[in-house]
Symmetry: D2
Subunit: 309 residues, 4 copies
């Protein structure tokens, strides 16, 4: 049995030494400022042991990783009725594609592409003011991460709002099919803000623990979702968590995971650990280049792939 702390440290060292770093996302000016040399890794196992390496305590923009938590919240609110609003099949398309949305009359393929996450946000918003809905999302993450200091990076949210024309297009397109209930501006406001939440690898790995342990956070004993729902969220992460790089991630890493264009990835080793990695450089599919490589090394060395040892 390899030593977790040693493996994590070794991988962090290897990653920081690599010359290949991918390309930092440029489509939001605020994200473009990230340091491509940054690398952080945090792993929390079933016993609660925390192993960290590199910049594991530096907060970064979680971006699409927030979609895992909004999905969890929305399922908690309306249960399986959510699946009338959004599918759960891989899309075979980039994260912001609108083609599928036209062919399927405004119902997004899954909750982890942008359109799907906007539809999920619309469900959370329902009957509330944007500020309240956003507060609920933020408090949910603070509770999961056991850290009330987690906040939204308003500069990132404002930047996204100024430049997120594609997301405005997706939301209005869905609205034209009657798939969204709330004013588009409200839904997008909440969406842009929850994508702009800033967390460190340590905080993120803590927040993800319930998914690794049958829906229950072992530290708090608090049951976030049922065991079945935890399995199902993991399944959706596996098949849809990395846009049109989801097959590649499953093939190489072998864990359910969700990436964000801020360079973070949350990965779940069911029964074993919750893992967060961060490195701002992205690959062609928009997923963290070193993040994926680090996770591949980690699962290999620890034998954590869900597809066999």
């Amino acid at each position: 049995m390899p030593d977790l702390a040693g493996v994590v440290r070794a991988i962090a060292d290897e990653m920081r030494a690599r010359p290949d770093r991918g390309e930092v996302a440029r489509y939001i000016p605020e994200l473009a400022r990230a340091d491509p040399r940054a690398f952080g890794l945090a792993v929390i196992d079933a016993a609660g042991t925390v192993a960290v390496g590199g910049d594991a305590d530096v907060p970064f923009s979680i971006q699409s990783i927030s979609k895992v938590f909004t999905l969890t919240l929305a399922l908690g609110m309306i249960g399986d009725r959510l699946w009338r609003r959004v599918g759960r099949e891989p899309s075979g398309n980039p994260f912001n594609s609108i083609v599928q949305l036209e062919l399927e009359r405004g119902v997004p393929r899954n909750p982890f592409i942008n359109a799907g996450a906007i539809a999920v946000t619309d469900v959370i918003l329902s009957g509330h003011q944007p500020r309240e809905a956003l507060g609920e999302i933020l408090r949910f993450l603070q509770a999961l991460a056991q850290d009330p200091t987690i906040t939204i990076d308003e500069a990132v949210a404002a930047s996204e709002k100024r430049t997120g024309f594609r997301n405005v297009a997706l939301a209005n397109f869905m609205r034209s099919f009657g798939v969204l209930d709330n004013p588009v501006d409200y839904t997008l406001g909440v969406y842009f803000h929850h994508c702009a939440i800033a967390m460190s690898c340590r905080q993120l790995a803590t927040a993800g623990r319930f998914l690794a342990h049958s829906g229950r956070n072992p530290a708090t004993g608090y049951s976030v979702v049922s065991p079945e729902r935890a399995r199902r969220i993991n399944a959706v992460m596996l098949t849809c968590g990395h846009y049109d790089g989801s097959g590649e991630f499953a093939y190489r890493v072998g864990l359910p995971g969700k990436s964000g264009v801020g360079g973070g990835i949350l990965a779940i080793a069911p029964g074993k650990a919750s893992i967060a990695v961060w490195s701002p450089g992205l690959d062609a599919a928009g997923n963290s280049h070193l993040g994926r490589i680090a996770l591949e090394a980690l699962t290999k060395r620890l034998g954590w792939s869900i597809f066999g040892v």
Copy 2:
């Protein structure tokens, strides 16, 4: 710990009692003759214990399940160079869609849609006569299943050949992009025949054991593929094994699996068991209706989901 034999028997009984059976595939006359009341289930665990229920010894047309074995063979022949010919991303499209093939210039999305399996067959054929290539595939399956009586149902193969216009279209389309090397008739001949191999649930579960146990069949000690390759084949099965119902299968069953329009499904519980189920009635995505329900019940009762207990 539930009793495996008892669980398998109970599920078989429950399935045979259900009135909902899906629709038997009609597009090949030979398949349309299958009895919709048939149901078989076979599970072989790590210790080699075989638990069967229902029509577990009745041979059926494995159809697309053969794609798992041709993928294994082709990877054995040319290794990762295979991935230049075919991708490994979920397609988000039905099994016989040609749209994606035009957009991506003849390179199929993954080896489990028809176009991808034809490309894989073309690799196996390379430099051989169709008869030889087909013999190799058949002998491979006989060896894996430890049963030399396994044969091809020539009536099904001939029926497919007479009516498989869509597959002829896919193959010629790829040929027009230079993706196939052999004469289209040769490649399709082998493809139609390996899809027409007939096996029982017991034979199929036996043949799949290497995927459950790090590439090695525990009964023979014979290492079919490396542990890493076994994991990776499982990953492709999870993300792509059920066409545009792959997300649904992962969500409900939580195991890597591959279905065929003959109503069979091979599913792998890594480290735990190889499972084959058969019931000819299909759901809207072309996967066995009762087969999927039975597997969902099985993983739930035995706690075998790869996404957590």
Copy 3:
């Protein structure tokens, strides 16, 4: 030589007697109120003779017919550079499709689908306030129709603005590709308003005369565009003027024409006449049902098809 006035009157009578009327557009509440029994026809020949029938003096919402005039204006402003912003090929898709826009990176297929007309409006707006640009478009139409009383139906514009989610999506989508220069709200504001201009058949036929006579209005002697540009605008009308019903219109009517969902059609018989017809009921492709039938009868009886007598 048939008598123009007699033919027009006869057709108007026949149309008003027909039971089949198509479906009035419902997607804007204001349009849904139109009387399906309304029918108007106005033809102005080279000599300036005006023949009218039915409700030829009742104003209706010209909707997409305005796209002919905005195209004319934009070509006057930046000439052939316009074709860097928008293509001139038929789209083979419905008027509000977004699929093509993603595949072709935000450049609309032609100026007569919604996306293309929004791009054209953006060109007209360039460097102006929305109010000024709109004033220019309105004054252009008043001058062409020789009628300063033509106005915008503000209720229709407001209704479109409240419900035009699809157009908001198209505009933001193009904006995300950098194809629009102005704030999306400005461009859409002008677009919604010029679609809401109300004109009668008589006014519309008058405004279209320059296209029938080598770019020059015979009544005023005023040359609006060069003969070559008039021919070219007619060509774009012929190939793209009726969305995915353009082939059908060319086949049956044989004249360049542009339809609007308000039920109007402007048609040009080069060298012979400018024609406007109106009937609110639409066919499946969104073009006036009786309008098309009336034009087919008219060109047949007068031998005006551009494809031969």
Copy 4:
């Protein structure tokens, strides 16, 4: 009134002097051998005056231009029922696209894309042996061109048969939807052969005269089709005759026309003339580069555009 013979001669001289020639089609070896310097032009006016320039008597492979004549034949056989098999809308896609065919369940957009022409050929074949159907097509062209020496270039037909994988794909794809009635090999055999008919510009312009003169060849007095059908065939040529360059051709030339990858174009000036041009170099959309430029010059100088003088 410009002198027709002089204009034709001048254009032929100008074209032969131009350095830009486009790219000779390479996808069939036989076509790739064509001399890029070749240029021919033949115009026959209503009075029967023939004006020729350049290589107007050199036979070339008419390729897709044959689709005009097979459409005419098929309409003669089953009339408007043909339109149940094939649409008449521009496709907005390249000549050999299969995407649209999947979305519209095997019904091709129009008779001038490959899929549509194959469907039309299938109608002509119906109830005949391939040899008979082909004989009928050839004799029809010989009669129209008043020249019994016109033949099929067997080397081109054989080359197309050996390499026409895309067309085999299209035909089998349609067959899978039940859109073709005859064995695919038969239909394709006839299709490949009628595309391989060789004609000179003079022969082609003669054969097209009925389309310029209300369906009747003025030289023979023989009425090939009704005036209405001639107009309608011209309309389909205008909207669909140049694949995804149809809008461009209408915009620049302003005549109904049909191009072939052999570099020929047949164009019709209704009431005025039948025109054939040939130059093997193609533009990006697969249409003769110099052919289009020559026709643009011709219509401009003679004022023959159907969209106005």
